[in-house]
Structures are given as C-alpha cells and as structure tokens.
C-alpha cells in the first residue's frame, strides 16, 4: 500500500487565480449575453445623438453608460449566481480548501471586468457615432465612476439572490426591476415623466451613478451634489451588499 500524505492548504492567491481564470472563461463563453447587455447603451448612444445640443454630450454619455451598468449587475451577476447555485457549483467549490470570500471575490472580479468592457464599448461608440470625446485622464475617472456605480448594481443583484432562491424567480425579478429602472432612470432624468419622477430618478441608484459619470467626464463641474451622489451610490452598495451577503445561502437544498 502506498503511504498517503497529509495535504496543506494552497495559497489564497493561487486558488483565486485559478478560480478567476475559470470564471473569466465561463463569462467569455457566455459572450452572447454580454453582447446583449452592451446593445442597449449602444442603441441609446446612437439614437440620442440629437439630444446632445439640448442636454449636452456629458449628460448623453453618462446616461448611456449608466444604463449599461444595471444589466451587468442585475442580469449578469444575479442570473449566473442563481444558476450556479441551483446546479450545485458552489457546493462543490465549498468542499475545496478555499474560503468563501475567494469564491465571491472571483465572481465580483469578473463583473468588474464586464463593467470596464461595457463602459469602454459604450464610450467608443459615443466617440465614433456622436463624436463625443473625453480626455484620457477623464476617461480613467469615468472608468472609476463606472466601477463604483456598477458595483452598487452588483450589490443589488446579491440582494436579489439572497431572497429569491430559484434561478427562474431571480430572472423574473431582475427583469421586473431592470426595465423600469433603466427607463425611469434614463428618461426620467431628462424630465419626460415630470419633475417628481425626475427627482426620484436623479437620486435612484442609476441616477446617482449617472451623476458620478457626468462629473468624471467634466471634473470642473463637480459640486456638492456630486459628493452626495457618491455617498448615495456607496450607501446603496453597502446596504444591498450587507443584506445580500448576510442573507445569502450557498445552496437551494
């Protein structure tokens, strides 16, 4: 008989690296869904060219990027988490010597990559179709703002999967939330639905994200409202993430 040896725990970095690589591969193989989440902001970019003289290039670009972010956090993140939970993928991963936080950090890291991808695609479409140009340092600020806002929607996605167990239920819930969120957030901000809806839209998660993005495009226009928008975005993220993490169950069984 061979001697069996006692194994040690692998390094967290190596474990994360392997898991992140696998999660990125999965995301790449679901690129059709990724492209679908990019189509909406691109449609907004192309169709809102005529609004630039009225509301300004920064507003158009920031709204278009902001509309893309809930698709990533709500539909992308929560749908894959719910699906993999239902299939028992997390159960299998939890039997390995890696911490739970590594599993979730890898998933969030993938969403981060998707946020950056959709933001850049939206910007380059705005540059190409609408001739909207942003200086490189400002573009970096835009990416930071997109990450901050995008992660607040990932947190909202986490909130949803904490309370809805089935993947079908999660898909239904995110569609119910995303469509009014995107429409009210995008169109409400320009006042189409009246002043009350506009106020609600401005301080909604999508609205505060749009405020951050607009400020990143034109940092000279930063006001106290920008700071409040940042605090609100962070607040939304912490609230949804806190409840979503505390209430999350790793299996449906």
């Amino acid at each position: 008989m061979e001697n069996v040896t006692i194994n040690k725990i692998p390094s967290s970095f190596d474990a994360f690296k392997n898991l992140f690589r696998a999660d990125l591969i999965v995301q790449w193989r679901q690129r059709r869904a990724l492209l679908m989440s990019v189509i909406l902001p691109v449609v907004f970019v192309v169709s809102w060219k005529g609004l630039i003289p009225t509301i300004g290039a920064a507003a158009v670009l920031s709204i278009c990027i902001a509309v893309a972010l809930p698709a990533t956090g709500l539909m992308g993140y929560s749908a894959t988490i719910a699906r993999d939970r239902e299939r028992g993928v997390f159960q299998r991963l939890r039997t390995t010597p890696i911490s739970r936080w590594i599993i979730m950090t890898s998933r969030i890291g993938v969403q981060l990559a998707v946020i950056l991808f959709t933001t850049l695609v939206t910007y380059f479409c705005a540059y190409y179709f609408d001739k909207i140009s942003v200086p490189f340092p400002n573009l970096l600020l835009v990416l930071v703002a997109a990450v901050v806002g995008g992660l607040s929607f990932v947190a909202l996605g986490q909130f949803i999967v904490a309370f809805i167990k089935s993947s079908e239920g999660v898909n239904a819930a995110v569609r119910l939330i995303y469509i009014p969120l995107a429409i009210v957030g995008a169109l409400g901000e320009i006042g189409i639905f009246g002043s009350l809806v506009k106020k609600i839209a401005v301080w909604s998660p999508l609205g505060t994200t749009q405020t951050l993005l607009a400020a990143a495009i034109h940092p000279s226009a930063i006001t106290i409202t920008t700071l409040w928008a940042l605090l609100a975005t962070l607040g939304y993220g912490l609230l949804f993430a806190g409840i979503g993490i505390a209430g999350f169950e790793w299996s449906t069984g």
Binding site: M1, E2, N3, V4, T5, I6, N7, K8, I9, P10, S11, D14, A15, K17, N18, L19, R21, A22, I25, V26, R29, Q30, D84, R87, G88, V89, Q91, R92, L93, R94, T95, T96, P97, I98, S99, S251
Partner: protein
C-alpha cells in the same frame, strides 16, 4: 451501539463522534459515531431520508453540526476547516461543475484549487486514465452520466487525498459504468486511501464495502462487514420474515432492521 474498531491504536482517517445535524427543529442525524481507517471502504447504508447525505455533508464541511465532532486525519473540522478540506476528495450526489467549462479545464481548475499545477501533458494522462481523452474539449454538459461520474471521481482524487467521500456515486449509471466505478473505488482503497460512500444499493454495499453502517431515522442501527451482519442476523425473526427463497441477504438484514414501510421520496 458501539462501533467495532478495525485497527485499535491507529489514527482513523475519519472519526465522527456523537454527530448531530438539525434543520430547524428536525433532527436529521442523531448521535452518530463511527470511524474509518486507512485502506477501507466504509458504506453508509440507509433508506431515503435516513440521514446519509446529512452525515456526509457534515464531513464535507457543507453543514455545521449542531453537536459532535468530526476529525479528518486527526484534524478537527470545526477548528481547522480548510486544513480538513485539503485532505478530502468529494463527489457530490449530483455532478456540479460549471457547464461552460471544458473537461480539461475542469481538471485544471480543481488541481489549482488544491494547490497543484498540472501541465497539459499531465492533464492528458489523467484524461486517458479515466477514458475521457476525446472529451477534453467538450463541455461537461455534453458528457454522459457515466462520463460525468468518472470526471467527478477524477476531480475528487486529483490531489491524492487520504479520504474520499462519495455520495451515492453510482446512482443512475448503467451496469457496466457501475462496475467500472466500483473497480476504481477498490483501486483507491488498495492504494491506501479511505473511502466513505453512501448508498441505498445492497448490491453495492455487499460488493464494494469492507464495512457498512446501517442508518435509519438519523441513527446508526448496526455496523459491521456485510458478511458479519448477515451471519449475526441470519436467525432474527424480522430478517427471516423479509428473506425471499430461504437465503438471507444483506437486503433482508436491512429490511429486517429498518422495516418494510415505503419511505417518502422513494
């Protein structure tokens, strides 16, 4: 009922003591104790809802027991959960891999999660060993049931763990695949590993297990080798009543001890 120790004085690969698993007010596992030693296949045999999966899930670290202790190679799973999990290989009841990953990528992922780096040639060797060379670039969702189980068993042993936990590993397999899997399990045993498997198949328990524990309603009723249990209960009236064609089998012992009522979920 106290368990007979196989090798007194030798550290068991798995030691479960007074384990209690509860789901709210429902007690799924009640005061269960058993030990598994190196080079042994130990079966948890019980009807649906007996507590087999809850017991093995607690050993896998998927459940926090309400009471009791679990030691894997002497490591307390409550105090050092990651160290304990580094020394177990797990095959869950349902195959649970990312469906968009290819077979080769699954092996590479799980090798990495256990701290191993596998070169492409090593992956190919492993695939050849489990007969999945042609499926290397196929998604796991495209594999047959038997192929998925072979892949699951490969990921469970990729890091040479001293203890392997298999939850109903041959459920849904055809006879050839089942026999093939039994041979692999026996080969693991012969290489010095310890295996805990749950099953409700008497044939599997009789053919593969060195010892079995019959569990019902969350309690271990009896422990011993299949042949020992048959000999012990050969003349038991309940077992005799359950026997067919006069010969007492492990199934008769099982039914004699657990009753003839059909269980919910069967």
């Amino acid at each position: 009922m106290s368990e007979q120790t196989k090798d007194s004085g030798k550290q068991p690969a798995l030691q479960v003591q007074k384990l209690r698993v509860q789901y709210g007010g429902f007690v799924a596992v009640d005061d269960v104790s058993f030990s598994i030693f190196s080079g042994e296949i130990f079966g948890l045999l019980g009807p649906n809802g007996a507590g087999k999966t809850s017991t093995i899930s607690a050993c896998e670290g998927l459940l926090v027991p309400a009471a009791g202790s679990i030691h894997i190679m002497g490591i307390d799973t409550a105090q050092q959960p990651l160290e304990a999990r580094a020394n177990i290989g797990v095959q869950l009841q349902a195959t649970s891999f990312q469906q968009d990953l290819h077979v080769g990528e699954i092996l590479q992922l799980y090798a990495g999660l256990y701290g191993m780096t596998m070169a492409s040639a090593q992956i190919d060797t492993m695939l050849a060993d489990i007969g999945l060379t042609d499926q290397k670039n196929k998604k796991t969702s495209q594999l047959s049931g038997g192929q998925q189980q072979r892949l699951a068993l490969a990921t469970a042993t990729i890091h040479n763990p001293p203890l392997v936990l298999l939850d109903e590993p041959t459920t849904g397999l055809d006879p050839q695949s089942r026999r093939h899997l039994w041979e692999r399990i026996e080969a693991m045993r012969d290489s010095g590993r310890s295996i805990l498997l749950t099953t409700h198949s008497m044939e599997e328990a009789r053919s593969v297990c060195d010892r079995v524990a019959i569990i019902d309603h969350g309690k271990i009723i009896e422990t011993g080798s299949p042949q020992e249990l048959i000999e012990k209960y050969r003349n038991d009236p309940a077992v005799q009543a359950a026997s067919r064609k006069g010969e007492v089998t492990l199934e008769d012992v099982f039914i004699g001890l657990t009753g003839t009522e059909v269980r919910k979920g069967s």
